[in-house]
Symmetry: none
Subunit: 204 residues, 4 copies
């Protein structure tokens, strides 16, 4: 069935990734065997290996999406003009996470991707790079808050950006794993904490 359209090839790749994603969510990267993927996709071994040259390549394709999938949207929200208030920004991004998990479950693989990054040198490097990029968006966002007078002029924007970026994994874990957290509740929680009264007296 040769001489096949570019679109056909693309569909096949998607078919394989869909199958692999389903398996990985159900059983994990390593407990999923290639046989599982053949069965789930309805393709033969040879067919799958025509599109991906190893299991690792499939894992990395999906894990990369799980890690980088949100990046574009984060940028969109955080660069909005005028600069959105913090609870809006966080609330909309967590909301986005929720809606994205729906149609394309890839985000459910994020914890597995973090785990993989902890011991796989190469994938770890990729993940660190992507995380640093996205975190940089948060840092720039805090700089804009500062320029807008919404945080004090002497704010350590890098530190604040790291703290904000750090809210996302916590939301993801509670949303995906514990399963009892909504975007709205998270936002509400944030709002109540945003007061100097919660802080230790300034050391200065």
């Amino acid at each position: 069935m040769p001489r096949v359209s570019e679109e056909h090839l693309e569909r096949r790749r998607a078919q394989i990734l869909d199958a692999a994603r389903a398996c990985f969510i159900r059983k994990g990267f390593h407990e999923t065997s290639m046989q599982d993927i053949f069965a789930e996709s309805g393709l033969s071994a040879g067919a799958v290996y025509r599109y991906f040259k190893s299991k690792t390549e499939i894992i990395e394709a999906l894990a990369s999406v799980a890690i980088g999938g949100l990046a574009g949207y984060v940028s969109e929200v955080l660069k909005e003009d005028p600069v959105p208030p913090l609870d809006d920004a966080v609330g909309r991004l967590t909301q986005l996470i929720v809606t994205m998990v729906g149609p394309d479950d890839t985000l459910r693989l994020a914890p597995q991707a973090w785990a993989l990054a902890m011991y796989d040198e190469q994938f770890g490097t990729y993940v660190r790079t992507r995380m640093t990029e996205v975190r940089q968006l948060w840092i720039m966002y805090v700089e804009r808050l500062r320029d807008a007078g919404m945080v004090p002029p002497d704010t350590d924007c890098t530190a604040a950006g790291k703290a904000l970026f750090g809210m996302m994994p916590g939301f993801v874990i509670q949303y995906l794993l514990v399963g009892d957290l909504t975007s709205e509740e998270f936002r509400r929680g944030l709002r109540s904490l945003a007061s100097p009264a919660t802080l230790a007296p300034d050391p200065a």
Copy 2:
């Protein structure tokens, strides 16, 4: 025959867990083979299997520590009297994470444990339970903040507790995986954000 001291048994178990931990950190749960653990521990297959009846049991032993290891300390800090300010509480607990990673690397397994919990029914249940317990401590902490007048009386303490609890995974990931975040910086970041000026106007 036997007649071996309780202490001896405990030492053997520790020896095996130490070896397994080192392997798991280096290669991950599933890429680590039992033979890797035999080699790292200097024990024979038979010896290891006398103390743990399967690889799963070893994984679960360590993953449980990675998940629950901090629980006791969290309680200590959050129940302190008088109730510590938010940045103190968070700062001390992230500090604790940092110092705990030193002597006993088990915490480095936390991301792998989260990942495992995503698809392993039984372990997932365990993790959810433990997380909920620890999160409950944060919720109670917010209630004490409220009683002390440090957050408004109408605060949704559950929501706020979830938000606070959610800071921890973000710190862990940035600390372990990206490797460029200190406890002090995280705290500083939090402090600058704790202001109503960062928030959208109250919808009410």
Copy 3:
């Protein structure tokens, strides 16, 4: 449909054999995959299979040439009139081997063909037949030496022919594998040994 010239077909066959030969020399018959041959020839699977109905057929086509390729020339030299002296005959045939390896490397497959003949019933029969034919030429050559008075009248021509034929593999191996033997040196070596003084006293 078709309407393709005989010449075209012949060219395609040659193209495939050229590619296969290159692969076989580089990687051996069995380590070479059909996909290697497709790539080397620049043809598709379907195209190759139109001209050869199996990998075995390709191997046999080339192995046969490797075994039988010299036969015609051997005959030419050994049947020359007047009968050439032994060192001339051997020298010219080894020389021929050397010059033949140049333009068409097929001879480099000879050791693989011998090996194949050792365990492949059918190919072994073919090789035995061809070897026996060529060896017969050597035997007839010795008979002519005898008739010309160059070896004693009671010479066992069969035995002597086998001994002479046996020089060829030794030359091929040293030439192809060790790579430090020339036709001229081989001939010189032979000359110095051709003396009754090297022999044990006649048992008679």
Copy 4:
């Protein structure tokens, strides 16, 4: 069944090599599957892989013996004092080949080993080294013939040694593959050719 004697280990290795040798002779290195070796040896996959870490290692173990197996004996014969006549030396070594094929068929693998050496870089180097060593014995043998006055004083001993060494592969192939040559016949053939009358007139 641990804590096993050195001898047991040695027996197992031998058992595996025996099985592999039988398979390799019957089907060739590459047509023999590891399953074939498991079946022939009566051992499990795991057991075989405890003793040899790859199929290649088994092939090389046997191919090395096939190549180097005779070396010790060659030395013994060629260094004998007084220096044995050429037909004796060749006759006794071919005789040795014949008797060695009997009890331990490894020699039957020689053609496969030559073939392998043609394209396997590493094994090729090994084979070249061993061949050069053994050939050196022949060269030294010719030097002793010269010193004993059995060949002319101006003999090119290297060339003559190469020619003599070259008789062996020819004998092996005719003996193993065609199967109609005896050591005695080969020797007889040599004797009849050892006369200056067979040679072209000296060019000098």
